[in-house]
C-alpha cells in the first residue's frame, strides 16, 4: 500500500518536532517544563492560591490539548505520543510546575490508558504532599448508553468543559468548587460525530481503519475507534438531524434554555461543510425553543487528517454561561472580555 502523504521529516520525531514549532510560534503563551519536555506550561495563569488545572492526553488532536493552555483556561498540559496517554512523569511535572498551593485538578478524556498514567501521576504528587483530583470528560454520547455515562469517551466537548473549569480556577474558586463546576460542565455537555475517511499515524502512514468510498461511520471516536453504525453517506441535514435527535433526546432541555454549540472538524473537513452543518443545527435548536449563547466552528479537537465532524451542545445555566463567557488567552484559543 502507498504510504499516506504527510509533511513530516521522521514519523518517530513528529510529536517532538511539533512541540518545537509550537514553542517557537507561541513564546508569549507557552513554555515547557525543564524536567519533562512534554509538559507544557502557561506563561501566565499559574499563581499562588489558584487551583492548577492540568489537562492532557495523546497527541494528534491539536489544538486539543496544548492549544488550550493559557490564562483563563488550563495552566499546563501533558501530552503523549500520537493517540497515546503521556506517561506519569510529564503529567506530574506539569502539575508541579503549575501548582499554586491550592491543589491540582487533572482533566482529560475517559480512556483506560490516560486513567492509569494520570492516577500514577497523582500517586507521585501525593508523595510530595500535593493534592490532585481528577475529573474525566465523558461527552461522547455514541460511545456508551445513557445509563453507562461513566464509561463514555471524552471528545470535542472537552473544549467547553475545560473552559468552564479553567474559568472557575481563574476566578480563584477553591478546589472543591472547581471540581464541582467541572463535573457539572461535563454532565451537561453532549457530543456525537461522523467520520468520512480514516486518519493515519505518522509512524505507520497507513490508514488506521478501512472505510469504503461512499460510506460514513456514525459515532466514530477521535482515535478512529469504530462507532455505532456504518452506512452510505447522506446529505448534511440528514446527518445533523440524526446527531441532533440523539443529543436533544438525551439533553431534554425545556424551551427557553440556552446552549453553547461547537461544530468541530475532525481534521480535513473544511469550514464550508461545518457551516452548512451549523445552519441545520441552528434550525433544530430554534425548533426546540433553545437559544444559542455561544458558538465555535472549526478544528478544535481533531484526529490527524480524518475527514468528518462532530457536534457538541453544552446545556448552559447561569453559572456555566458566566464561565463560558470568562476571558481566556491561549495559544490557539482566545476570548475577549465582552464577547
Amino acid at each position: 500500500m502507498t504510504p499516506t502523504q504527510k509533511i513530516i521529516n521522521d514519523g518517530n520525531a513528529a510529536v517532538d518536532e511539533m512541540l518545537v514549532g509550537i514553542l517557537a510560534a507561541h513564546p508569549r503563551h507557552l513554555t515547557r517544563s525543564l524536567a519533562a519536555p512534554r509538559a507544557i506550561i502557561a506563561r501566565e495563569g499559574p499563581r499562588p492560591g489558584k487551583v492548577a488545572l492540568v489537562i492532557g492526553g495523546g497527541s494528534g488532536h491539536e489544538p486539543t490539548f496544548l492549544g488550550f493552555v493559557g490564562k483563563g483556561l488550563a495552566d499546563a498540559a501533558a501530552i503523549g505520543n500520537v493517540f497515546a496517554s503521556p506517561p506519569p512523569q510529564p503529567a506530574a511535572d506539569a502539575a508541579m510546575s503549575a501548582h499554586g498551593g491550592a491543589g491540582v485538578l487533572f482533566m482529560y478524556g475517559n480512556y483506560a490508558g490516560d486513567v492509569m498514567n494520570f492516577d500514577m501521576a497523582t500517586e507521585l504528587l501525593a508523595m510530595d504532599g500535593i493534592e490532585a483530583r481528577t475529573v474525566l470528560t465523558t461527552d461522547d454520547i455514541a460511545s456508551a448508553p445513557k445509563d453507562r455515562r461513566s464509561e463514555r469517551r471524552g471528545v470535542a466537548g472537552n473544549v467547553f468543559i475545560f473552559k468552564a473549569a479553567g474559568a472557575a480556577a481563574d476566578l480563584m474558586m477553591p478546589l472543591d468548587e472547581v471540581e464541582r463546576v467541572a463535573r457539572r460542565a461535563n454532565d451537561r455537555t453532549y457530543t456525537m460525530g461522523v467520520a468520512l475517511s480514516a486518519c493515519s499515524l505518522p509512524q505507520t502512514r497507513r490508514p488506521n481503519f478501512d472505510l469504503p468510498a461512499g460510506e460514513m461511520e456514525i459515532g466514530m471516536g477521535i482515535h478512529g475507534e469504530p462507532g455505532i453504525r456504518r452506512e452510505a453517506l447522506r446529505g448534511a441535514n440528514s446527518i445533523v438531524d440524526e446527531i441532533m435527535d440523539a443529543i436533544l433526546g438525551e439533553m431534554n432541555a425545556p424551551a427557553g434554555d440556552t446552549v453553547a454549540v461547537l461544530v468541530n472538524s475532525l481534521g480535513s473537513t473544511p469550514l464550508m461543510e461545518l457551516y452548512i452543518m451549523f445552519a441545520r443545527v441552528a434550525e433544530r435548536l430554534d425548533a426546540a425553543g433553545l437559544k444559542i449563547h455561544a458558538s465555535l466552528v472549526g478544528p478544535y479537537c481533531t484526529s490527524m487528517e480524518m475527514a468528518g465532524a462532530s457536534i457538541t451542545i453544552m446545556h448552559l445555566d447561569d453559572e456555566l454561561t458566566r464561565l463560558i463567557d470568562h476571558p481566556c488567552d491561549c495559544a490557539m484559543f482566545q476570548q475577549g472580555a465582552n464577547k
Binding site: 505520543n81 496517554s85 506517561p87 506519569p88 490508558g113 505507520t204 478501512d210
Partner: protein, 218 residues
C-alpha cells in the same frame, strides 16, 4: 544447576525488542480493527526503551535492577495503556527475582506469574474481558501448575505456558470486549483477537524461550 543470569536477561530483552519491531505493523493492523491502531508502535517503542535501559546498567546490576530499569524505560517511552501495565509487570518481576545476579532456571516460571499478577493489579482486569490478561492469566496458571509438579521438565513447563497464552489470545476472538477502548464496540469486537493479548503471547514466548535457553546453557 541451570541459572538465569543477568547476561541471559539482557539477551531476553534484546530479543523482545526485536520481536516487537518485527511484529509492529501486524499489531497495528489488529488494533486498527477494534482500536486505534497504535498498539504495535507502543510495544515497539516500549520494549526498545526497556532493552536500552537494561543494556545501560553496570555489570554489578542484579536481576531486580534489570527488571526495574526495564519498567522505567518502558513507562517513560510510551505511557498509553501498555506503559503502566508492563511497567507494573516488570516491577513485580523485579520483586520476585530479587537482588541477585542469577536465579535457578526452575524458578523462572514464577516470573511469568509475577508479571501476570502485576498487570492484573494495575489494570483491574479479570479473564474473559478481552484484554492482555486473557493471555497472561492462563500462562500464570500453567506456571503455578509447573511449580507444584516436580516431575514436569522445565522445558515442557515453559512450552505449556506459551501454548496456554496462545490459546488464551486466540480465545479473545470469541469474546465481546468489556474493558479498555474496544469495550465501546459491543458485539462488533467479536471475531477479532485482542491485540494486547496477541502481543502478550509474543512477550511470554520470548521470555519462556529465554528461560529455556538458560536451562540448556546451564
Amino acid at each position: 544447576m541451570s541459572l538465569l543470569t543477568t547476561a541471559g536477561l539482557v539477551e531476553i530483552f534484546v530479543r523482545l525488542a526485536q520481536r516487537m519491531k518485527d511484529e509492529r505493523d501486524e499489531l497495528c493492523r489488529l488494533d486498527g480493527i477494534i482500536g486505534d491502531a497504535d498498539h504495535g508502535i507502543a510495544m515497539e517503542q516500549g520494549t526498545a526503551a526497556a532493552a536500552a535501559a537494561v543494556a545501560a546498567l553496570p555489570d554489578t546490576a542484579t536481576l531486580a535492577d534489570q527488571f526495574n530499569a526495564a519498567a522505567k524505560g518502558f513507562l517513560n517511552a510510551v505511557g498509553a495503556s501498555s506503559g503502566p501495565l508492563y511497567a507494573t509487570a516488570f516491577m513485580s518481576a523485579a520483586k520476585m527475582a530479587g537482588p541477585r545476579g542469577a536465579m535457578p532456571a526452575t524458578e523462572t516460571p514464577t516470573l511469568i506469574k509475577a508479571m501476570a499478577d502485576g498487570i492484573a493489579r494495575r489494570g483491574k482486569a479479570v479473564p474473559g474481558q478481552k484484554t492482555m490478561i486473557d493471555a497472561w492469566d492462563p500462562a500464570a496458571r500453567m506456571a503455578e501448575t509447573f511449580s507444584e509438579q516436580a516431575e514436569t521438565s522445565l522445558a515442557a513447563g515453559l512450552a505449556a505456558m506459551v501454548e496456554a497464552a496462545k490459546a488464551g489470545a486466540d480465545g479473545t476472538a470469541r469474546m465481546v470486549a468489556t474493558l479498555g477502548r474496544a469495550a465501546r464496540l459491543g458485539d462488533r469486537s467479536l471475531g477479532h483477537p485482542d491485540p494486547g493479548a496477541v502481543s502478550a503471547t509474543m512477550m511470554i514466548a520470548v521470555f519462556c524461550e529465554g528461560f529455556a535457553k538458560a536451562e540448556n546453557a546451564g
